[in-house]
């Protein structure tokens, strides 16, 4: 099976989020970057499918130069090669604009399966994989926890709301968005890291994948969210704060 995994580089989870002076983006100074966690689960599913059924795993990522480090991480974990769509202005594209880039990069590869995480941890749009399926004219399914190869195609386990699940059969080629938690994530081994340096990373300029169309959605402004409740922050040392909290829970909130 030839599998393409679309991964996104996002700010590290604990990174401080500061609003840039233009009030339209976050300040990227001194920011550390990491692989979007749902995409890491998509990569893991792809690697396990390859181990069971043979084939090839190709990682695909769009973004500026810095994205290279996340691509190397995926190669070190076991992907065979990579495609880097080089773009310095992804932020000015909406989900459809980004999906167009990815779909154009995927087309010439003719994969059997395209996987990606169900959403990104930064923008949280949760749409890119589904739109890529539409642009490629392929069937899709979302929130997938398990993928199994069958004679006719694949059988997947889809998460529904509130503890319900469902099995779905799809023909190949197909696009799936992967939910976290279906597998245990692997770490890159030292040998894997060494090998990754030898693997092919093909760079494609975004401009060569077709003209950028005007976005349908524009970001007007970002700000810190407004508070829904007035929170009493209990000051002092851990011991003082803990004692104050118990007092409040007993005599003010009356929940103890």
């Amino acid at each position: 099976m030839k599998i393409i995994v679309a991964i996104k580089q996002v700010p590290e989870r604990d990174a401080p989020v500061r609003i840039a002076a233009n009030h339209k983006s976050i300040d990227e100074t001194d920011l550390n970057w990491a692989m979007n966690e749902p995409d890491a689960y998509a990569l893991e599913e792809a690697l396990q499918l390859k181990e069971k059924n043979g084939g090839e795993v190709i990682v695909l990522s769009a973004g500026p130069e810095r994205v290279g480090s996340t691509i190397r991480e995926a190669l070190a974990k076991g992907a065979d090669r990579a495609i880097h769509v080089v773009s310095d202005d992804l932020g000015s594209r909406d989900a459809l604009g980004v999906a167009r880039l990815l779909a154009e990069a995927i087309k010439p590869e003719n994969p059997d399966l395209v996987l990606t995480g169900l959403q990104s941890e930064d923008l949280g749009l949760g749409q890119t994989g589904v739109i890529v399926a539409e642009l490629l004219g392929l069937p899709h399914s979302t929130l997938i926890l398990q993928v199994e190869k069958t004679d006719a195609g694949i059988k997947v386990k889809r998460e529904l709301e509130e503890g319900w699940f469902q099995h779905i059969e799809l023909p190949l080629p197909a696009v799936l968005t992967i939910q976290s938690g279906g597998n245990k994530l692997r770490y890159a081994t030292l040998m894997g890291i060494k090998r990754a340096k030898m693997k092919e990373v093909r760079s494609v300029n975004a401009a060569d994948l077709g003209p950028a169309t005007a976005p349908v959605l524009t970001l007007e402004q970002i700000s810190l969210p407004s508070k829904q409740k007035s929170t009493q922050i209990l000051p002092g040392t851990a011991k003082e704060a803990a004692a104050a909290l118990v007092e409040k829970l007993k005599f003010e909130a009356r929940v103890l």
Binding site: R13, V17, I26, A95, L96, E121, D122, L123, G124, L125, G126, Q127, V130, I131, A133, E134, P139, H140, S141, T142, L143, E159, E161, E162, G163, W164, F165, Q166, H167, I168, E169, L170, P171, K184, P215, V216, L217, T218, L219, E220, I222, L224, P225, K227, Q228, K229, T231, Q232, I233, L234, A238, K239, A241, A242, L245, V246, K248, L249, A253, V255
Partner: protein, 322 residues
């Protein structure tokens, strides 16, 4: 282009609350744009989806009826809604932000050259659509450019349905054309995950743990606090993804929804997927080292500090107070 179409989704549990909220959002948009509100949904109009509307009634309802739509598939729903939208030409199409909507609406919108504005929490005049970024740490205002239709989905709990008086509306049947080979995915019957042995829904006190705990080896800290309080233990998704606690203890959109007297969130940043499962709790306490963590937006009491110091101190204080 003079309509706002609000789409209803038939729920397994028959709960129409979310649809009422989506209608409330549609009314909000209708009053700021001067457009007419209409409803649409898949299914038998007499049995199902249009019976439970409260508040000022939409001008009309569109019931999409086709045997191929009895079971949900993204291919079937995209085709059906594409044809209804081409016929009605609404300016806005508003959905509840459910797993089903996330599954097919991005594809539907792309077919119109559009992008869904997902998980909207509020509108401002313009209209501007407000949604969260960075797991709730940032609030963003989006504007829809150019021609329509504009697709948006509404976050659960974001709009209150406060119009109790209902009425009747004219229902129109719509039968889409769905070729026999159009449905490429074959779904089977939904099933419940492993038998639930923990009913967090009826717990009065819950201590819930998130990524801040760092390692499974640190969980006894939380267990001691829960034991001192007589509380159930719950967790955010990453803890269960890692297998540190069973999935049935997960609170949030993909786990259980809870509303205890006391919800004590330890080391949980408060991504929206978690908040929707616990924000109805009577009293919420957050312990987190990051003063900007979104969990503090819904907390009644907060301690900003290292949970490895605060939790043992709290366990002692609870024991001392008993």
């Amino acid at each position: 282009m003079s309509r706002i179409l609000v789409v209803q989704e038939a729920r397994r549990d028959g709960n129409a609350r979310f649809f009422q909220e989506t209608l409330a959002a549609g009314r909000r948009l209708a009053s700021s744009t001067g457009l007419t509100l209409e409803a649409a949904g898949v299914g038998d109009p007499n049995k199902d989806i249009f019976l439970e509307i409260t508040g000022p009634t939409p001008a009309s309802g569109h019931a999409i009826i086709h045997p191929a739509l009895e079971t949900y598939t993204p291919d079937g729903y995209v085709l059906a809604f594409e044809q209804l939208i081409r016929k009605l030409e609404p300016a806005y199409v508003i959905f509840p932000h459910t797993y089903q909507v996330r599954d097919f609406v991005p594809r539907l919108a792309a077919r119109f050259g559009q992008t869904l504005i997902g998980d909207v929490t509020a509108f401002e005049d313009g209209p501007l659509f407000i949604r969260q970024l960075f797991q709730g740490r940032i609030s963003a205002r989006y504007r829809h450019e150019g021609g329509g239709p504009c697709f948006a989905s509404i976050q659960s709990g974001a709009f209150r349905n406060d119009s109790p008086n209902g009425g009747t509306m004219d229902i129109y049947h719509f039968t889409p054309e769905i070729p026999a080979d159009a449905l490429r995915t074959k779904p089977s019957e939904p099933f419940r995950g492993s038998a639930q042995t923990v009913d967090l829904g009826s717990a009065q006190l819950i201590v819930s743990v998130g990524r801040g705990i760092r390692e499974a080896e640190n969980l006894p800290l939380i267990e001691s606090l829960a034991a001192a309080l007589g509380a159930e233990i719950a967790a955010s998704r990453p803890i269960c993804d890692n297998g540190w606690l069973p999935m049935e203890r997960q609170v949030g959109s993909s786990g259980q929804s809870v509303a205890p007297k006391l919800y004590l969130a330890v080391g949980i940043s408060g991504a929206i997927q978690h908040l929707v499962g616990m924000k109805a709790s009577q009293c919420i306490v957050a312990i987190n080292k990051d003063p900007d963590a979104p969990i503090f937006e819904v907390a009644d009491y907060g301690i900003v500090g290292d949970l490895f110091e605060v939790v043992p101190a709290l366990t002692e204080a609870v024991k001392a107070a008993k």
